[in-house]
Symmetry: C2
Subunit: 364 residues, 2 copies
C-alpha cells in the first residue's frame, strides 16, 4: 500500500524514526543502569509494547486496569499500574490480571491500600505497591517525610501487599533550562532525603520509579533512581520538542489530513479538528497552535472545531488547493493516538504495517 | 442495574432530561414549520437517531462518510453530509451510501462538486448538493453574491448532481445578547438578499439549511430558513448553558467520576482528564474550567492531565474522600461522547439502558 492510498485524517508513523526513538531510550537506560518500564498510554498498542519488551524493557506501565488487561497480550513480566485503583469492580479485575503476571500499583492513600489488600486477599494473590510521593507537581502523591513513611508502614502491614518502593512524577519540570535544572536538582535532593529516611527507619526500598519526558535523558542525575517509565518518546510531539527532549526530526507521528476548503483567501480548512488531534493546547506556552505543518512550517494551525482545522496561510511557504494533503505534528501525541482506531506505519512512501490502537478509549 | 454499579469514569445520561430536550426541539421545529434534521455528531448513536426520527426528524445530518455509513442503521429517509467530501475513497463509499438512501452534501468549491459528480456518474446515483455560504464564521462557505451564484450554477451543470439549496452555519454568534441578536438579524438580512439573488437569476432553491446551538430557538427569525440541524440539544453542556440556549437543569449528560486522591489539602483528583472529557476549554470565555461539579458547584475543575482531573475545593460546598463519586457536566459534550464506548441511560438511580456510541472515532 502506498501512502497516497491512506484515507484521511489518519495517524501515520515513520518507522525509521520510531525505531530510532525506541533504540535511543533503550540505549540510554542500558548505559545508565536504569530499568526501563515504558508507559503504554502513549501508543496503547500491544505490537509496540512487544517491541519495547524485545528491546529490553523490564515491564510495562499502564494508567488503567483496562489498559492492563489489554497489555497482557504483550506478555510482560510485570505490569505497573501507575494510578491509584479505587472501587470494587476495578480491584476485582486487577486481581484477575495479577493471576496472569506480576502487578504493582502506585497509590497515595491508606484507603486505596486497604481496598487493594482486601481484594488481593479475596483473590489470593500478592500485589506490589509503590508509595506515590509528590515531588512538586501537586497532583497525586503524599509529601516526603512522615506522611510518606506512614503510608509505607501502612502498606507493609497490610496482608497480600508487597511494599516495593516509591514512585513519583516530576511533571512540574517543563524544560531543562536553568530553572528546570535547578528543579531537577531539588528533586534529586528530595529523593536522597527520602532514601535516608527509609534507611533510618529500616524500611527496605527496592524500586525508585520516576522521571518525566522533559527530564528523560537526565534521569540518571536523580539520586537513587532505579526505574524510568517514559511514554511519549516512542513518537514524540510538539510538546516534547519544545521541552528540549527531542528535535523536530525525532517526531515519528503525524496526522495526514486533506484540504477540504480554500473558500476564504489566506486560509485553508483541513479535515481534522478536535476529534482528530484533541484540543490540547501547547504545554507551557501561551502560543495558540494545534500542530506543526510539515509541508509549510510557517502556516499557523490556530483554531479548530470538531472536524475542521483552520490554517492561516499568511506566512506559509506553499500554496494549497482542495484535495491537497498535509502532514501535521500534533501538540500532544498521547491524546491524539487515543482518538484513532489504527496507525499506519510507513517507510518512505510505503505503508509497511497497520496496527490497531488496542487500548484506545479504555477508560475504566 | 443501579447507578452505583457503574464503573467510572462513565458517561451517564438522565433519560427524563434527554426526553424533555428531544421533545422541546421537535416541538419548536413543528411550531415554526422548520424541518428538523438533527446532527448526529453529538450522540453518534443509532438508537438516539432512531428516536429523533420517530419524533419527527425529516432526516439526519452527519459530518463524515463513515458516520453516514453507521447512521444507515437508523433508516433515515435522507442523509445530509454537512461537510465537503473530497478524495476518491470517501466518494466511492458515499455513492454506496447513496444507493441505500437519499444523500445530500454541503460543499463550497467547484472542485469538490466536480469530484462528487464524477463519482455519482460512475456509481449511477444522483446526489443532492447544498452550496455552502459563509455568513460570518469564516470557516467553510463561499461569500454571498456572485461567488455563491457561480457555485450554484456550476453545481446545476454537473451531471448526477441535484442542486438542492444552500447551507450555512452562523457559529460566530456565541450568545443571544444584544450583539448576538444584531448578528442574527444581519444573517437574516444576508439570507434574504441571497434568496433575492437566486430569484432574480431563476435558480430554484428548495432547502435553506442553517442555525446554530446558541441561536437554536430563534431559528424562525432567520428569513426563509426551511431546515435546522442542531446536535448538542439532545444532551446540552456547559457551553450551551453559558450561551443561554439551555438551563443547567437541561444538561442531560454528566461524566460520573471517582475521587482517587486527596493527598493535597484543598484539592482532590478524579479519575478522568483529557481522555475522558476532552481538553476543550469553555467556548467564548477566558475562565479555565473543564466542567461543573453537580455535587459541589463551587469546586473548580481547573486543570487536567490525561487521566487526572484536578479539583480545587477552596470554595466547594462539600468535602470528599477517596472513593467518593461526583458527576461533572462537561464543557463540550460532543467531543466528550466521542471518547466513550457506551452511554448509561438512567432514570433516578436505575440504569434503564446502555447504548453504544456507534460512530465513535469515525474519522474518515
Amino acid at each position: 500500500m502506498h501512502v497516497s492510498e491512506i484515507d484521511t485524517p489518519a495517524l501515520v508513523v515513520d518507522l525509521d524514526i520510531l525505531e530510532r526513538n525506541l533504540a535511543r531510550v533503550a540505549g540510554y537506560a542500558r548505559e545508565h543502569g536504569l530499568r526501563l518500564r515504558p508507559h503504554t498510554k502513549t501508543h496503547k498498542s500491544v505490537r509496540l509494547a512487544r517491541r519495547q519488551i524485545a528491546m529490553g524493557a523490564v515491564g510495562l506501565t499502564v494508567a488503567k486496569v483496562s489498559e492492563a488487561e489489554v497489555m497482557l497480550a504483550a506478555e510482560p513480566d510485570d505490569l505497573l499500574v501507575a494510578y491509584p485503583i479505587v472501587g470494587h469492580t476495578k480491584l476485582l479485575r486487577l486481581t484477575q490480571v495479577a493471576r496472569q503476571t506480576r502487578v504493582t500499583v502506585a497509590l497515595d492513600s491508606t484507603c486505596a491500600a486497604r481496598q487493594l489488600s482486601d481484594a488481593a486477599r479475596v483473590a489470593q494473590v500478592e500485589i506490589g505497591v509503590l508509595a506515590e510521593v509528590d515531588v512538586g507537581l501537586g497532583r497525586v502523591g503524599v509529601s516526603a517525610g512522615e506522611p510518606l513513611l506512614a503510608l509505607a508502614r501502612a502498606i507493609q502491614k497490610l496482608p497480600h501487599l508487597r511494599f516495593a518502593g516509591i514512585a513519583f512524577y516530576p511533571g512540574h519540570i517543563k524544560t531543562l533550562d536553568e530553572s528546570g535544572r535547578r528543579a531537577l536538582a531539588q528533586v534529586s535532593d528530595l529523593v536522597r532525603g527520602i532514601l535516608g529516611d527509609f534507611l533510618a527507619t529500616g524500611i527496605e526500598i527496592g524500586i525508585v520509579s520516576g522521571g518525566s519526558t522533559p527530564t528523560l535523558f537526565h534521569s540518571h542525575e536523580i539520586h537513587g533512581l532505579t526505574e524510568i517509565r517514559p511514554g511519549t518518546y516512542v513518537f514524540n510531539d510538539l510538546n516534547t520538542m519544545r521541552s528540549g527532549a527531542c528535535a523536530l526530526e525525532d517526531c515519528a507521528a503525524t496526522v495526514l489530513a486533506t484540504v477540504v476548503s480554500t473558500a476564504r483567501p489566506g486560509q485553508m480548512i483541513i479535515d481534522g479538528g478536535s476529534k482528530t488531534f484533541s484540543s490540547d493546547r501547547l504545554a507551557n506556552s501561551s502560543e495558540v497552535t494545534f500542530g506543526h505543518l510539515v509541508e509549510a512550517p510557517g502556516a499557523r494551525f490556530h483554531k479548530m472545531n470538531e472536524e475542521h482545522g483552520f490554517i492561516d496561510l499568511a506566512d506559509a511557504e506553499a500554496a494549497f488547493g482542495v484535495g491537497d494533503r498535509v502532514r501535521v505534528i500534533p501538540n500532544h501525541i498521547c491524546v491524539a493516538v487515543n482518538l484513532h482506531e489504527k496507525v499506519y506505519g510507513v517507510r518512505g512512501e510505503t505503508v509497511e504495517e497497520v496496527w490497531p490502537v488496542d487500548a484506545r478509549g479504555k477508560l475504566q
